[in-house]
Amino acid sequence: MEIQFRHDVDNVLAEASQQKKPILLDFSAAPM
């Protein structure tokens, strides 16, 4: 099982604020 990363960061920031849940933001160059 892999981490399901989201790429819509604007929405993630908005949802985190609403849900009061922290964010893990990964700046990556790994092959996708």
């Binding site: 604020s17 849940k21 893990l24 933001l25 990964d26 700046f27």
Partner: protein, 143 residues
């Protein structure tokens, strides 16, 4: 690792090539100039912990746990922060995160009680373990 991340965070990734516009936007906002850079942001988008460069399994997970503890600390949830910091020392005593966590566990106890004895106890703990770390030096002023 997956369980820890999904239970505690909303995981998001910006890729240097595939998400180049987002990478530029958020890279500038958060000062990310290298990959991998992993940020742990609180629910308001404020950076609370940063991991730059690759780390193997336990080292990486313990750093993630450190960020989770620092989020509780920043929210002045002293008991929860202490619990999270001590969990790192207990589960990953041989990682670089452990002495940092031991230091901040003591600070969390002190902040929650305003009792100096917790700082002294932490300084004492550093005389028995992690003696050669920066965190031992920082705690040495406490006694």
């Amino acid at each position: 690792m997956v369980k820890f991340v999904t239970e505690n965070f909303i995981p998001a990734r910006v890729h240097v090539r595939d998400d180049s516009a987002l990478f530029q936007k958020y890279g500038e906002k958060y000062g990310a100039q290298w990959t991998p850079t992993i940020l742990e942001l609180d629910a308001d988008g404020v950076e609370r912990h940063r991991i730059e460069g690759f780390l193997p399994g336990d080292d990486f997970l313990s750093q993630l746990m450190l960020g989770r503890a620092q989020i509780a600390f920043a929210q002045q949830q002293w008991d929860e922060a202490e619990k999270r910091f001590r969990e790192i020392v207990d589960k990953f005593p041989h990682t670089d995160a452990a002495p940092e966590a031991l230091y901040w566990a003591g600070v969390s106890q002190y902040k929650g009680s305003n009792n100096n004895v917790f700082l002294k106890n932490t300084a004492q703990a550093f005389k028995e373990q992690y003696q050669d770390t920066t965190w031992a030096k920082k705690s040495s002023v406490w006694g």
